[in-house]
């Protein structure tokens, strides 16, 4: 399938820029970025349970850069298979793993190696052996067809120029009747050409 983008960005370059920024977030989460990070932000502005976040490794929660709270949509049932698309350092992924329990599975997919390393190390540190962290991106998920109960994600689809392809991938991996619980950003008005061409608005 051809890779398309609604503006004239080179999709490969955009993907590389996103990887670069989120590698920096993984390496230095307290650095200068144009978006919030960390557990205090997640609790104060997105309604996460601060006690739950405090129970996660700091290396996991400090690199959190989500924009909403997919866990607030509906509880993740015990025994469910959940995929976190663009799991980053694994904050939402490990919360999901705790909720589905060892009878379930929590699969994290991320294209940034530094983030995957944090997520996998965090799962091991927490003894969450039903967590599986895989390399991949939203347009080509390394997940079997019709194998997932719930797809979660947080602040990732807005970084993907090929949104139709990413949503088609979500449809492919979900079982019939499976749920989407996604946090992302929406825009209240049509963007002008200057805003559309601002790469900062695509990578944050």
């Amino acid at each position: 399938m051809a890779i398309t983008c609604p503006v004239n960005f080179d999709v490969k370059s955009l993907r590389k820029e996103v990887q670069s920024i989120y590698s920096r977030v993984a390496d230095a989460p307290h650095g200068e970025f144009h978006f919030h990070r960390g557990p205090a932000y997640a609790a104060r502005m997105l309604g996460y349970d601060s006690a739950e976040l405090a129970a996660l490794p700091a290396d996991v929660s400090s690199s959190f850069a989500g924009v909403a709270n997919p866990h607030a949509i509906a509880p993740l049932p015990n025994g469910a298979t959940v995929v976190d698309i663009g799991c980053g350092a694994g904050m939402d992924l490990l919360l999901a793993a705790r909720r589905v329990g060892p009878a379930g599975r929590a699969i994290g997919v991320d294209m940034t190696e530094a983030m995957r390393q944090r997520a996998a190390a965090g799962a091991a540190q927490c003894g969450l052996h039903h967590v599986d962290v895989r390399a991949g991106d939203a347009t080509n998920l390394p997940v079997d067809t019709a194998s997932v109960d719930i797809a979660i994600s947080n602040g990732v689809l807005n970084l993907v120029p090929e949104k139709e392809r990413a949503v088609a991938e979500i449809a492919r991996i979900l079982k019939p009747g499976g749920r989407v619980q996604i946090g992302d950003i929406v825009i209240g008005e049509v963007l002008d050409d200057t805003a559309l061409a601002d790469i900062d608005l695509w990578t944050g």
Partner: protein
């Protein structure tokens, strides 16, 4: 995003929560200008 999920055959597509996730960041003014907010989106894959 809602229309993308609907076009892909998802049912019960809805925004359930909104968050002012850019308040206090260097992009706060841009976010206000374009009405950019964080949202939770739920949907169900058709059977």
């Amino acid at each position: 995003m809602i229309s993308v999920f609907q076009s892909a055959g998802f049912a019960r597509v809805a925004i359930t929560h909104r968050y002012e996730c850019f308040v206090g960041t260097t992009k706060e003014r841009t976010a206000r200008r374009y009405g950019v907010v964080g949202v939770n989106v739920s949907a169900v894959r058709g059977i």
